[in-house]
Symmetry: C2
Amino acid sequence: MSRPVVDHTHAPDLKTWVEGANGHADFPVQNLPLGVFSPRGGDARIGVAIGDFILDVRAAFGAGLLPGQSAEALEARTLNTYMGLPASQRRALRHALSALLTEDANAAKVQPLLHPAADCTMHLPAQIGDYTDFYVGIHHAMNVGALFRPENPLLPNYKHVPIGYHGRASSIRVSGTPVVRPNGQTKAPTAEAPSFGPTKRLDYELEIGVWIGAGNELGQPIRIEDALNHVAGFCLLNDWSARDFQAWEYQPLGPFLAKNFMSTISPWVITIEAMAPFFVAQKARPQGDPQPLPYIWDEADQAGGALSVDLKVSITSEAMRKDGVAAMQLSEGPATNMYWTVAQIVTHHASNGCNLNPGDLLGSGTISAPERSGFGSLMEITRGGAEPVEIPGGVRTFAEDGDQIALSARATADGYVSIGFGPCEAIIKPALPLA
Amino acid sequence: MSRPVVDHTHAPDLKTWVEGANGHADFPVQNLPLGVFSPRGGDARIGVAIGDFILDVRAAFGAGLLPGQSAEALEARTLNTYMGLPASQRRALRHALSALLTEDANAAKVQPLLHPAADCTMHLPAQIGDYTDFYVGIHHAMNVGALFRPENPLLPNYKHVPIGYHGRASSIRVSGTPVVRPNGQTKAPTAEAPSFGPTKRLDYELEIGVWIGAGNELGQPIRIEDALNHVAGFCLLNDWSARDFQAWEYQPLGPFLAKNFMSTISPWVITIEAMAPFFVAQKARPQGDPQPLPYIWDEADQAGGALSVDLKVSITSEAMRKDGVAAMQLSEGPATNMYWTVAQIVTHHASNGCNLNPGDLLGSGTISAPERSGFGSLMEITRGGAEPVEIPGGVRTFAEDGDQIALSARATADGYVSIGFGPCEAIIKPALPLA
């Protein structure tokens, strides 16, 4: 297994000279996530988040502060080239950035290259060639399966095949971009004919995104022992869903317009190197479940290929924002509820020779806990709209115009400084009027 | 409705000075398809097919022979920028190319910019951002539906929703690229557990591809009356399928590894301008079928939005090639068996605000005729392998290693010179040995 190693950049006593960054909830110096940002009035460039600041990596490279690094990777407007670098080069960049931000001798040179994050605009970190969404949240699969197919919630293939499907790359947007309620076709089971209009069942899906690093050639599979060498990092992903469109369109070829109107991701790439301390044993496969086929089975992956990440969703309605009421938590649960590991989905995806490219995005699928307090979508929380959830000043079955949905993630491990994934949020705008 | 108009470039008596091109089966001067090619020893550039030659469009532009055209579009290594031009500019290019190739006064200047097609390498014509496959061949939907769901072949949504799903963009290759038989998971209905190995049911699918031209902004739908303004052209598409993988994996989210190991397209973009004479009335929707919702209904589109294109598939086994036996035709049928028009699928795709981009590719889905001689896949021809088809020196249920599958298409209309789509073929290579 090719899991990255814990090294001095993860040391809990490591401190940065950047003001306010030590003890920062998301971006202490143990994190060092990469992203693409524009400072006020500037063009898009690669940066690294440190506390409430962003270090301009392009400028640091230009100033000779990152010697030996790849100009092609660090002067680009996206992280695709960086993602495709060998793991050793990506690790070297992490070490160099860590040194710049922790050694007091560097402070004077590096300080002028910091921008307050609040003054910057974040962009998509990569040009996403292909986006694939998996379905590894077994409790979600059972919850949703029970609503769509009460007689048959978990299909017979689920525990053998990491189920996935191709999603829409063009409509992925970074946190902060509003989502417009989509129009579409629906047909209630009792209606005689379908109709066209705004979705009445707009939902979010809480997912972890996986950024593909080094790709594979068409026809060349990826061995499970090597799979994590093909991963560059992680993000949060909200796979917005129109449940009424989905129910009417999804047979026989899967979700289409129910999902492709927009997906929201967090802008920071939490590198796989940063995640090294947060890989833990796989827990979501109960004793007695069928053993997967050898091509997607690796004992070392089972022992240390799951993610120790705590996931949360919150909602703030327009009225709550107006009244200054804080966001209300809708759910919280661990990413260890993924039935298939990251290595398993990467290997399965390439097992038929399908070629992955740097900057491709894989979604985990909705990650739900077994209990309602950890359900990763409104569909599950409200049992298809039958059991509304109370929020300050109102109730929700599905999301309403003006609601802001915010996902968050925090990786934790005993003896290590926990790191956050940064924001993944969007406000819902009303549907366009029909022509 | 925004169908392109027939003009002097389609005149049946128009002749080119290019040797052997008048009366050429695929590429007479009425066609003028665009593609990306490398001449022997040269780099990739845009060209136009004329008879058995390719005119170097980049060189013609560089020599000042295409004044007023877009340098950004014509000097690029892909057709994406060209595809995104306004229809008026694309038409102007067609007019200019037609003049270069038909006026004798241009022959001396243009002749040196022609390359024998046999000496050139073809490339993908565009960087494909997203690839979407539809399912508009109603006879295919019924044939395959009957095999997968005998009790329920055509689902209730079929005649209301143009069913589609997202496919894999990274594994699309041009004609001539071999396809490697994929390994994957299968489970026979009678088997106790799944197994992993080479597909035993490798199939082709005969489809028309639609190249998206001008895109739409996220959140902004495309009116059906404007839909063809967002189409740049057409190609052939073979959506290779592993039927055994498909049967085991496709529930509940649709086909995935059964399809994404490779798709083959023809390299030439048959422009929508070239297709102007070949739009005909929609015939595949019988009287009495439900009327589609207004957003995907346009009387003018019904009257003239279907494609008069004859589609064929042939097979040549390795033994046939060795013995010098000509390809055997497996099927022939018209593209008017598409239940939904091109305008309807474009409009439906963007109806929820999903943004399309220049160079996106839409597949029609397999186009089958009602009778066996026009079935567009082996799955249908052999009824799931139950009724083998005889070929010279053997029989086939599904495709075997060494088989070459070739699709072809010809647009025809009374009073016009018919045009071909060029080759769309691939030879099947054996699966990689399992590790």
